[in-house]
């Protein structure tokens, strides 16, 4: 929510600014698309939202005074995604960050390794997580962001990044074991 506050955007930039933008920001288009795809769970929607975010980044580029261009861009992408979700899928945002108090079923490393080999199962499991947990996991495990970068992008205090990741991983483990056929049949 701070990405959009970085000064009033202008509709046009000059040629030098554009060259700087292409050099610093455009190389992170994959990161922008990947984050949008995992937040919105749809490639088609992500294409639209990533395009919009990129254009916003271009317009706010005067407010970017050096530093981590990827984190700066991802902050804008994330804000654009949440705005889009609020408008188009408000229900999804309601479940976020509800603290789970139930004891976690323990999972053996072996069963996880087997479950994890399946790209589709991992995707489905990740997509069952509330967006706030999904985003820290995607930023950490797929994008390789540091805690400091995750804090900057997601606007959560750096001190809580570690616990957000811990809870996200526990939820993901649970989603994976619940999705396994043995677990499913046992529950039925």
């Amino acid at each position: 929510m701070s990405g959009s506050d970085q000064g009033r955007g202008s509709d046009v930039l000059d040629v030098q600014e554009r060259a700087r933008f292409e050099q610093l920001v455009l190389p992170h288009l994959d990161a922008a698309f990947n984050l949008a795809r995992w937040l919105l769970k749809s490639r088609a929607d992500s294409e639209d939202v990533a395009q919009e975010a990129m254009l916003r980044a271009f317009r706010f580029f005067r407010g970017f005074h050096g530093g981590d261009a990827r984190a700066w861009l991802l902050q804008i992408v994330r804000n654009t995604c949440y705005t889009w979700l609020e408008k188009n899928r408000p229900v999804e945002l309601m479940t976020e960050f509800d603290e789970e108090m139930h004891p976690q079923p323990s999972v053996s490393p072996e069963s996880l390794a087997i479950a994890g080999d399946n790209r589709e199962r991992l995707t489905r499991a990740l997509e069952t997580l509330p967006p706030r947990f999904r985003e820290v996991l995607v930023l950490r495990e797929l994008e390789g962001c540091s805690y400091k970068e995750i804090a900057a992008i997601t606007a959560i205090p750096i001190g809580t990044v570690m616990s957000a990741l811990a809870r996200g991983r526990q939820r993901l483990q649970r989603a994976l074991t619940h999705a396994s056929p043995q677990e499913a049949s046992r529950e039925l």
């Binding site: 509709d11 046009v12 930039l13 000059d14 040629v15 554009r18 933008f21 292409e22 455009l26 288009l29 994959d30 922008a32 698309f33 990947n34 795809r37 995992w38 490639r43 992500s46 294409e47 990533a50 395009q51 990129m54 254009l55 271009f58 317009r59 004891p103 976690q104 323990s106 999972v107 053996s108 490393p109 996880l112 390794a113 479950a115 994890g116 080999d117 399946n118 790209r119 991992l122 995707t123 990740l126 996991l137 950490r140 495990e141 797929l142 540091s146 805690y147 570690m162 616990s163 990741l165 811990a166 991983r169 526990q170 993901l172 483990q173 994976l176």
Partner: protein, 251 residues
């Protein structure tokens, strides 16, 4: 899950985000805590699954294209300003000079382009100008799939771009040009050692067949209209060669 370490510090350790003191402390704890050891193993396995399952989604080419177009539209001044200003001034001056001379000295392009505001002099002048060093192409490519998208967003119309290398007229590239004050596409073809410029711009006039060739100063030109586009091919190749290329483009 009973161990406090499992819930938080373990993840900082896994992510390499603990300072040396806390990392050492956790490692000592790990030696005695079975729960943490198991969980760490499970988390490491999960991480390697996440990172090796191709979950990272790369931006599609279509998105890259759309963003390019957005940036073009949002960059001021227009894209054509990438060409140094002095060059435009020189071109404008040349056009003005030629236009004023031709007003007195040259008749209008007879029968080949009776209703066209573009004169034979302009066409030949543009052709000669293109032969000066560094002026022939803005995009040099023998690939029509490179030349065609290059025009995207630079002109308000889409010129038909085709390579005729198999027929002896390889595509060399394309550039933007100005004829009678309007932006036109110039497609550049080669015929042995000769250069052929094909100027293309939109028209509302009805289609015409390929007119008989005009000739001046050793240059030939052919003019026709087809499907909303006006074409003028000009070169020093023979009239029959030029007609062959015009025929290929017309089809």
């Amino acid at each position: 899950m009973s161990c406090d370490y499992t819930r938080t510090v373990l993840h900082g350790y896994l992510d390499g985000e603990l300072d040396a003191t806390r990392a050492g402390e956790f490692e000592r704890h790990l030696e005695t805590c079975r729960e943490c050891a198991n969980t760490l193993g499970a988390e490491e396995a999960l991480r390697s699954s996440l990172q090796s399952s191709g979950l990272y989604e790369h931006a599609p080419v279509s998105l890259r294209k759309k963003i390019r177009a957005d940036l073009d539209a949002a960059t001021a001044p227009a894209v054509t300003s990438w060409v140094p200003v002095w060059r435009w001034l020189a071109v404008t001056a040349a056009i003005l000079l030629v236009a004023s001379v031709s007003w007195y000295a040259w008749p209008r392009l007879q029968n080949s382009a009776a209703s066209s505001p573009v004169t034979a002099t302009e066409i030949i002048d543009a052709h000669v100008r293109s032969l000066q060093p560094g002026h022939l192409t803005d995009v040099a490519s023998t690939d029509q799939h490179t030349v065609k998208p290059w025009f995207d967003g630079k002109l308000a119309f889409v010129p038909p771009v085709k390579d005729f290398a198999d027929e002896g007229f390889p595509l060399v590239g394309g550039r933007l040009d100005v004829l009678s004050g309007q932006n036109v596409a110039a497609l550049v073809y080669a015929r042995r050692k000769h250069v052929i410029n094909v100027f293309v711009w939109p028209t509302k006039e009805p289609d015409t067949p390929i007119h008989p060739p005009g000739s001046r100063q050793g240059y030939q030109w052919l003019h026709w209209r087809h499907q909303g586009m006006e074409f003028c091919a000009v070169s020093d190749v023979s009239a029959s060669d030029l007609h062959e290329l015009a025929q290929l483009i017309y089809e």
